[in-house]
Amino acid sequence: MTEKNPDKGHVALFGWSLNAIDAVDRFDRRYLVVAPPWAEEYCAQNDIPFMAWDFDRLNERSYELAQRLEERGVDVAIPIFEETVEWAGAVNAVLLKNPRLLGQSMLFRDKSLMKRRAQLGGIRVGVFEEAHDRGDVIRFLKRVNETLLKLDGDPNDPIHFKAFDKSGTAGHRVIRTPEDVDNIPDEEFPALLESHLDGWEFAVEAWIKDRKIQFLNISEYVTLGYSVFVPATPELEAHRERITKEIEKLIEAFDIEFGFIHPEYFLTSDNTLYFGEVAYRPPGFNALELIERAYGFNGYQGLVVAFDPKTTKEELDAFFPEAVTDAKGHAGCFGVYPRRRVVSRLEVPEETANHPYFEFHELSDPREQKVAKRSAFGTHWGLAYFFGDDPHKLRDLLKHQEELDFYV
């Protein structure tokens, strides 16, 4: 463990992430991992400060958790997963004596509330509605397409279906036909329905302290659910100023004093920015690692700096680099899904293996998995990492990976 600075804050990580623990263990803050009891033995063996907590239970005991953390001298809780965002809000409301933090976290957890709040804050959002059953979905699909003046028999414009409280692409479905609606399992309701926006989709990672953006990264999606890279192309970075203004609106609308947000946006062909959704936790797809590869700072340590109430201004300025200009190159990753129905082994395509931008992969062996039919975006079998100087070349390379078989 790195020598800890007693003058700095003591943070609690909510949720089990070895990457986060590894990063924070190397940092100068005291920390505590709050995770389910199954992790206890592992933490004892590896000298990882640990407190067992079952986040699956209802939130009613959050005051008890807050008190126990206070006794251990913890200053602030950092949510690592979507499921712990509300817990962290409730606990931080107690630890930081700021009751509004609980309400704020509820907004982050409910995609419908989140959308309305953004709309109230003057942020542009697409057409959306809540769905409690399949009938609601059919109605929305029909109405959206009527609005678009489609005739009977014209192919429908798709709509998006997102389970209320799932993160990322989990529970995200694209609905085109009534048959797609039939395939939605009961447990994914209630859900948020959104009209489809044709445009450039991207995500933002913003570290916030004292209501100010400390570092703003734009992650360009090549294909949602497949690939992303940072920093974005100059064409997207050209909108940085507008994007920054949008994030500032989010800070106001959601009353964000500190922390880390991960919103998604659409830039449509008429140059309008639409807000999609926002999460108050690290993004999936190992985006923080891409940022570390490009900029050299560790995103989890950045989280600690942003959450810790004892962080100083000087420390913030020293910690975060200058966006875009300080990047050593562009880092991207590609989520691999098997393309064939039957696969027997992992074989990185030769053109990928020999490409100068290809670094390494974390793909699992097919013997560990079966090819399941993909319904929702589902889970990829691992990521392949790329790094290079030319963002356009990297983008096209990531796109091209979709046509290759990694599993044969």
Binding site: L18, I21, D22, R293, E359
Partner: protein
């Protein structure tokens, strides 16, 4: 961690200038290593795989292992081995190393290579490790080298050929280790391995000469430490670098020629006999020997040539009859780039093949032959420009005619073609010269299949692509044609029931291949079919006690199911049965030719092919009759002969069947037979 690195990093000096790809991969590897270094011990696992992933790619580019070596200690310190068996190097077993280096999983190959790189760093003093001292590391590497000697220098067999690039990488790793660690301790093992190879009198001796050159260096550097192994080693080195009184000090060719110009007759005779003795002892021809022979052609006082070739009665007889053509052949074929032609010539004369009427004119034609176009380029590509392609080809012709069973297929899947060349060289040498002439002059080979004309240039390339370049010159010339013709004959058999070799083999090789054919396996199902009858027919065809004492007069092609040392099936392979006879202890043995470069193989279940000591002639492999039969799946027999009255003991057949089913036929027992297989 408990590892330290000395300032002078080992490997930098030997790595040379790595190419751009290696440089780039090194950069990526460093990124992966940095991530691993940063990670806490509990998080290492996740970052190990990317390091190994990049290392595996780096290994397959030139200079890759050397680059890995410079990072070995750093990778170890970073925690590459944490959580695996490799984390305790002192407990690793050297006998597992070679297998892991060619494992299916590139991650394991990279792990083993990284581990060996760490041993190398510790052995050379470039790095230190708490649980591993320099002597221990060196001992470990020595054992790995000795256990993998074949892959360090040696030739390639079927099981290995299937590995392709993996083997290339393994060989590069072993060679790199051998360069750094030196070979002193490995020498004893090497010397006996070389003698074992030499006894087979392979046409290709490049690898063996290379090994002997290594030994010469080791003798020079550490001769005093060698003790008992020194004698065998010196015999090899002197055969190559100083076989006679006049060349003992390895003076250089020019100085040597200067020296013999002033040597008296007795001395010259002693030189000639010295060369001959060393050559027949080892099958290797020293460069001095080649120079002496050419010099002796113009020495008129006394015929030194037959003495220097070490000719016996048949050879001397040939010399007396055909002195002119022999001198022409020496002048044209025995050069500093092709010394081995001398041994081929000596053996050719000893076989008496010049007495076969077409041979002298055929060789005269060969002497005048000029290679054309692509053929010329291929020979130059395979053998270099030190001598003209015609010289290489002529030298190859002499070697193949002198050592028919020394033909090897190289690292190519062309056992049928290599076997054909060997069999023609053995019994149809004038026909072989005819094919060589056709291929050299017209870049084609013509044959007929049951009346259908086949012309190799009209055919698509076969198994071997455009043919091997790592074989002898005759094979380099012919195999591409033969391979295509063989494949075309297969196509012409399409639609016929049963194994096509029944028709191809006699048409392809010659009238002397028996027209009947027995196959142990049903072609459609892959299962054994009428196997007892198959075994019985083999006894009746080949075993002198059951066939009325008829010897094998011409080599007969046969197919074997090759098995590895664990008796696991590897693949089908073409060989030729040469003779069946009792060995010195009265056991019946089959003597056969294996186009593989090294016949001495362990086929598992105590079936170990012998290449010497059991009555084998040069280039023959042998097995006891039943052992051999247990691996045979196809043979030719005379369809006219019916030997119904002869009984082969049922227990003998059952025993062979048991051994086949315990090895290659394990998965091939027909379902109906499983219950009643004891019968």
């Amino acid at each position: 961690m408990s590892v330290e690195e000395a300032p002078d990093r080992q490997g930098d000096s030997t790595a040379g200038a790595p190419d751009a790809q290696a440089m780039r991969l090194c950069g990526t590897l460093d990124v992966a290593i940095e991530r691993l270094e940063r990670a806490r011990p509990f998080a290492k696992t996740r970052y190990q795989r990317p390091v190994l992933d990049v290392a595996a790619r780096l290994l397959s580019v030139p200079g890759g292992f050397a680059a890995l070596c410079t990072r070995a200690m750093r990778m170890d310190r970073a925690g590459l081995f944490a959580g695996s068996d490799w984390d305790t190097p002192e407990a690793l077993l050297p006998q597992l190393s070679g297998g892991t280096l060619v494992s299916d999983d590139p991650i394991y190959r990279a792990l083993e290579a990284s581990s060996l790189a760490r041993f190398l760093a510790v052995a050379s003093g470039a790095g230190r490790h708490d649980n591993l001292h320099s002597e221990g590391a060196r001992h470990f590497l020595t054992q790995v080298l000795a256990l993998n000697l074949r892959d360090t220098f040696g030739t390639v067999d079927e099981a290995q050929r299937a590995l392709g690039d993996r083997l290339t990488v393994k060989r590069e790793i072993l060679r790199h280790i051998a360069e750094t660690v030196g070979l002193t301790d490995v020498l004893g093992v090497m010397v006996s391995e070389i003698w074992r190879l030499l006894e087979q009198r392979s046409v290709q001796v490049g690898v063996v000469k290379d090994m002997i050159a290594q030994i010469a260096l080791a003798l020079h550097e550490r001769g005093a430490e060698l003790g008992n192994t020194r004698l065998g080693a010196e015999r090899l080195v002197s055969a190559l670098f100083g076989p006679t009184a006049g060349s003992l000090d390895d003076p250089g060719i020019d100085a040597y020629l200067e020296r013999i110009a002033h040597t008296d007759e007795v001395g010259l005779s002693r030189e000639a006999m010295g060369f001959a003795r060393a050559m027949h002892d080892t099958g290797l021809v020293s460069d001095y020997h080649a120079a002496f022979l050419r010099w002796a052609l113009d020495y008129r006082d006394r015929p030194l040539v037959p003495e220097a070739l070490g000719l016996g009665t048949t050879g001397l007889d040939s010399w007396r009859h055909y002195r002119r053509v022999i001198e022409d052949l020496i002048r044209a074929a025995v050069t500093p780039a092709t010394p081995q032609a001398a041994y081929g010539l000596a053996m050719l004369l000893e076989r008496g093949v010049l007495h076969n009427a077409p041979m002298v004119p055929a060789l005269d034609r060969q002497l005048r032959l000029r290679l054309k176009g692509a053929t010329r380029d291929r020979i130059a590509l395979g053998f270099g420009e030190a001598a003209p392609p015609e010289t290489h080809l002529l030298a190859g012709v002499l070697q193949i005619l002198g050592q028919p069973l020394g033909v090897g297929q190289g690292a190519n899947p062309t056992c049928q073609s290599a076997r054909a060349i060997a069999m023609w060289a053995l019994i149809d040498p004038d026909y072989l010269l005819h094919l060589i002439g056709q291929a050299a002059e017209f870049e084609t080979v013509q044959m007929q299949f049951e009346g259908t004309e086949i012309n190799s240039t009209d055919l698509p390339v076969g198994l071997a692509g455009f043919g091997p370049i790592d074989a002898d010159p005759v094979s380099v010339l012919l195999v591409t044609h033969l391979d295509r013709i063989y494949a075309e004959m297969g196509r012409l058999c399409a639609g016929r029931e049963g194994d096509p070799h029944r028709w191809i083999n006699p048409q392809f090789h010659g009238w002397w291949v028996a027209r009947g054919c027995a196959v142990a396996v049903d072609v459609a199902t892959g299962k054994l079919k009428a196997y007892e009858d198959f075994l019985r027919r083999f006894f009746l065809t080949y075993h002198p006690e059951y066939n009325g004492g008829r010897p094998v007069s011409h080599p007969q092609p046969a197919g074997i199911a090759v098995t590895d040392a664990n008796a696991q099936f590897v693949g089908w392979h073409a060989i030729a049965i040469l003779r069946v006879a009792e060995d010195q202890t009265g056991r019946m043995r089959v003597y056969f030719y294996n186009p593989n470069n090294d016949s001495g193989q362990n086929w598992g279940d105590d079936v170990i092919v012998s290449t010497g000591g059991n009555g084998e002639r040069y280039g023959e492999g042998s097995l006891e009759f039943e052992d051999f039969l247990s691996r045979i799946y196809l043979f030719h027999e005379d369809p006219l002969r019916v030997d119904d009255e002869v009984e082969v003991p049922a227990e003998a057949l059952a025993d062979v069947r048991r051994r086949a089913v315990a090895s290659w036929a394990a998965e091939r027992v027909p379902d109906a037979d499983v219950a009643g297989s004891d019968a």
